[in-house]
């Protein structure tokens, strides 16, 4: 009997390194400060050992042989030399081979300046080429998809993109075609590369073979400046690096956050930058692509530009007049705001307008009180679960990166998926048991699944599937339920009842509530929900969006403060338009939209990448969002608009900046707003759980091609210096020496 070892010792360049058994040599060496050059290896994908760049000398029974470090699992007592003459010659040889057919069009290549091939040629390559033959030629970039261009001359055949498509996204829309040195990445000509994850292949391409159409020639890497932030396109909250050239957003890259996105992004999160600059200045306020750059006030039936003072005064006048009647005013929207903005608006509603009719969800969510009552699970919990039960829409459409994470877990043995789905979702091929649910019957199907005895005949439940699902679910141990709206047309109470039943019947199961919208979880926590005050304090029930719209139509409610585009987001659009037509409407929004046709006052707000704050993802993880560019025109951050509107209504929230709002939020409720804002890490902090220090995974320099890639690779004196680039904000505000408990600005 051999004892299972928990750690092995490997000698890398004469230094002993502790490692876990089965770890890859390339990772172990990197942790020990020895960077082994690589192209095909990516820490989030299975190694293939194709590019042979990581050849190192490994002592073996037949003497030292060259082995690819990315394909070599460490054993105890392994002796490795990465810089012997033989290893160096092999690395130089491979680089020379790679460069033989690689065109020298670095000056026009989007990757030039942040290119791993350039960097590693400098650090590990030969000085000069000996290749005098004609290089391989292909037609210069071909469009392989709506967002991705392929330059086959530059391809070094590392298969990162094809492996991503097959292994991670699970959709082989691109594959290698041909043989030998004419091998090329190719989609089928009739079926272009339209995956919703196509942008990731551009990011992980170690050369400029795959380039993104929106970023093509937009900037050179050395004039980019970047911040690390969080995506608010959906509730997954992927960490990303936002890059701009001057004050113009140019590119978004995924940051490898271990608990959340593993470095991946969906194309929606990656390529929606042009929404921020308003598609080059569209001016029609009803066009949802246009940016609102100035306050607007309706005069004689048309919206005209006004000053902030005029607009705030008019808004205050309308809201005050309506607020004097009981239940005469309400707030709808805000699921895309930061936690601080949501908190500020929740306080404006409760303390200044005196209303409980507050709802961040546009009627497409679930009852927040029930959601918060369920035992929560993180994305990691769902991926580690024995059984995942899905009762939600198609995750690839609604929460794309959650789909990637779940898929990555479910393809491994020991994970089962029980799917309750209205239609076949992208996860369907991985389902162990798939139970079809007709819209409106989710609660009945769950009941039938869990009840003893025969299932009602009209559900047409397959007895065998039901039996297998029951066996898999057991008492809920190791089960994570991914719960969301299966269908937006049905009443949310259907899903809520199903969830309640599941929680009762599976006491040990945990729930990952897959609400869709950007920061909906943070908005609920901050009190932008009927019946919930900031910090999840239960209150007397207010009206949700549907009830408010009905009250507006009936004239019970007179005015509404809309945060965002209500008409464009609500399911019952004619109903919403009819309601807004009768009401006084104040809209706070960064973008145009159909709601503005009914607005009396429009207050322009900053949008994502223009505002600071924190956001909370669907698992309750609080991370920081960081501004990169200045909001256009007269747009303000929501926190400032809320504070000024409160002031116009005669109240002082004492929250004139994001930091003050975060401080107020955290001190009032204990929510980790300020602490995350001032000390933002990639992983953030899950609200309500103790903050454990998370080991920061070294970012793959090639998965994260920043402008400092040379330092990441380790050039010259900076070799081994792996400190990440500084992030905003770098330090807390200086405290006033005379008043130790307050910052200088707090007394203002």
């Amino acid at each position: 009997m051999t004892e299972t070892r928990t750690s092995v010792t490997v000698t890398v360049n004469g230094r002993a390194v502790e490692a876990a058994p089965g770890e890859l040599l390339i990772d172990v060496a990197e942790r020990a400060g020895t960077y082994i050059p690589r192209f095909c290896y990516h820490p989030r994908m299975e190694p293939v050992g194709m590019c042979r760049m990581c050849l190192v000398e490994v002592e073996g029974p037949r003497g030292a042989t060259l082995q690819p470090a990315c394909y070599q699992h460490v054993n105890d007592g392994m002796v490795v030399t990465t810089d012997s003459p033989k290893a160096k010659k092999a690395q130089e040889g491979v680089l020379e081979f790679l460069l033989a057919n690689h065109p020298l069009d670095c000056p026009v290549c989007d990757k030039g300046g942040e290119c791993p091939l350039q960097d590693q040629t400098l650090t590990h390559g030969p000085g000069e080429t000996r290749f005098v033959e004609e290089k391989r030629h292909f037609v210069k970039p071909i469009e392989i998809g709506p967002l991705v261009l392929l330059d086959r001359e530059r391809c070094i055949q590392c298969a990162r993109c094809t492996r991503f498509a097959a292994e991670v996204a699970g959709d082989t829309e691109i594959a290698f075609a041909g043989r030998g040195d004419l091998i090329e990445v190719a989609p089928s000509p009739e079926h272009p590369f339209t995956s919703v994850f196509s942008g990731n292949t551009v990011q992980i391409c170690p050369v400029g073979a795959l380039t993104a159409k929106p970023y093509r020639f937009a900037a050179r890497p050395w004039d980019l400046d970047q911040v690390e932030s969080t995506c608010t396109q959906c509730a997954v909250g992927c960490r990303l690096a936002v890059q701009s050239s001057g004050d113009r957003l140019t590119r978004v890259l995924g940051v490898d956050s271990d608990p959340v996105n593993h470095g991946w992004l969906c194309d929606k999160g990656r390529f929606t930058l042009d929404a921020v600059d308003g598609h080059g200045g569209l001016s029609d306020p009803l066009d949802p692509r246009a940016r609102i750059t100035s306050p607007l006030v309706r005069r004689d039936g048309t919206l005209v530009e006004a000053t902030w003072g005029e607009a705030l005064a008019r808004a205050a006048e309308l809201l005050r007049a309506a607020g004097e009647a009981d239940g005469g005013v309400g707030v709808i929207g805000g699921a895309a705001l930061t936690n601080e903005s949501a908190y500020a608006w929740a306080r404006v509603a409760r303390e200044v307008l005196g209303t409980e009719h507050v709802d961040a969800q546009y009627g497409d969510g679930l009852d927040p009180r029930r959601v918060l009552a369920l035992p929560g699970a993180t994305i990691d919990d769902a991926c580690a679960a024995r059984v995942v039960l899905t009762l939600c829409g198609d995750p690839r459409e609604e929460l794309p990166v959650l789909f990637l994470r779940l898929r990555g877990a479910l393809v491994r043995p020991g994970h089962d998926l029980v799917e309750l789905a209205v239609g076949p979702s992208a996860l369907h091929p991985l389902a162990t048991v798939s139970i079809p649910v007709r819209p409106g019957e989710a609660h009945r199907v769950v009941d039938a699944l869990l009840d003893e005895g025969r299932a009602p005949a009209d559900l047409a439940l397959d007895d065998d599937a039901r039996e297998r699902a029951r066996r898999l679910l057991g008492d809920g141990e190791g089960v994570v339920v991914v719960a969301g709206r299966t269908n937006l047309a049905e009443d949310p109470s259907v899903v809520e009842r199903a969830l309640t039943r599941l929680a009762d019947a599976l006491p040990r199961a945990r729930f990952l509530v897959a609400l869709r919208r950007g920061n909906v979880r943070g908005a609920i926590d901050a009190g932008l929900a009927p019946g919930l005050r900031p910090g999840r304090v239960l209150a007397a029930g207010g009206r949700d969006t549907r009830a408010q719209l009905a009250a507006l139509r009936e004239g019970v409610q007179r005015a509404v403060l809309v945060l965002g585009d209500l008409v464009g987001n609500v399911i019952d659009r004619p109903g919403a338009e009819a309601a807004l037509e009768r009401a006084d409407v104040v809209v706070v929004t960064g973008h145009g939209g159909a709601t503005l046709a009914h607005a009396d006052v429009v207050l322009p707000a900053a949008v994502q990448h223009e505002r600071a704050g924190t956001v909370t993802n669907l698992e309750g993880r609080v991370t920081a969002v960081v501004p990169k560019v200045v909001a256009p025109g007269a747009a303000w951050p929501d926190v400032a608009i809320a504070a000024e509107l409160a002031r116009a209504l005669g109240a002082d929230l004492a929250m004139d900046s994001v930091v003050e709002a975060a401080r107020a939020y955290e001190s009032a409720t204990g929510y980790p707003a300020l602490s995350v804002l001032l000390d933002s890490t990639s992983e953030g902090r899950v609200a309500g759980s103790p903050s454990a220090p998370v080991a920061r995974r070294p970012l793959d320099p090639m998965a994260f091609p920043g402008i400092r890639s040379a330092e990441w690779v380790g050039l010259g004196e900076s070799a081994g210096d792996r400190s990440p680039p500084p992030r905003w904000p770098t330090s807390p505000r200086p405290r006033c020496p005379r008043c130790p408990d307050a910052t200088p600005t707090a007394s203002r």
Binding site: G49, M50, C51, R52, M53, L55, T65, L66, K86, K89, A90, G93, V94, E96, F97, L98, A100, N101, R130, F131, E133, E134, I156, Q157, F176, G178, R179, G180, D181, L182, I183
Partner: protein
């Protein structure tokens, strides 16, 4: 060969000379031309010269001399054959058969093929010999036997064997190509 074909011979009992000259087997070289070199076991194998004709047909015997018998297909090159051309054609075969998965084989075979083509067709330089050997060394480090490899599979170290053998055995012929800026056999 006068009688090319497939023959069953007992291992070790016969020699290459028997195989090539015995009327029951190869039946000699057409025109009774002298053997300049022969490939003992398929195009992956390093070449042998006439002095190894009396080597017995056995795995160990051939292996001990730095080549192999593997597929057992013996190719005889007589004195009318341009060795550069023969080696180039073998490299071209490997270049076309490389699957393209790993770099040294994919790019190395193509590079060596093009350099050999250039040498054969009159663009050769003296430094090309050193270059070719170094490229071979980058695919099969040390150019040892049995070969080491930087590639995933053993197609990689098969590429250099003929080029290496040709340069080692017939350097003069390569230099003649360089001097003449073309093939002296044309």
């Amino acid at each position: 060969m006068n009688r090319p074909g497939v023959y069953e011979v007992e291992m070790v009992k016969n020699t290459f000379r028997d195989l090539i000259y015995d009327p029951a087997f190869g039946g000699g070289v057409p025109g009774d031309r002298p053997v300049k070199a022969f490939i003992p076991g398929g195009v992956s194998a390093p070449w042998f010269g006439p002095d190894q004709l009396d080597l017995p047909l056995g795995q160990d015997e051939v292996g001990g001399q730095g080549s192999m018998l593997r597929s057992g297909s013996v190719v005889v090159l007589d004195d009318t054959t341009c060795l550069v051309r023969a080696a180039w054609r073998i490299t071209k075969f490997f270049s076309r058969e490389s699957c393209g998965q790993c770099t040294p084989c994919r790019e190395g075979s193509g590079w060596i093929e093009r350099a050999m083509y250039r040498l054969e067709h009159g663009g050769g330089r003296v430094e090309d010999l050193e270059l070719l050997l170094d490229l071979c060394d980058n695919i099969a480090p040390g150019l040892t036997w049995p070969p080491q490899q930087t590639t995933i599979c053993v197609l990689g170290p098969s590429i250099p064997s003929s080029v290496h053998a040709a340069i080692e055995m017939f350097k003069g012929e390569f230099l003649a190509h360089v001097d003449k800026q073309g093939c002296p056999f044309d």
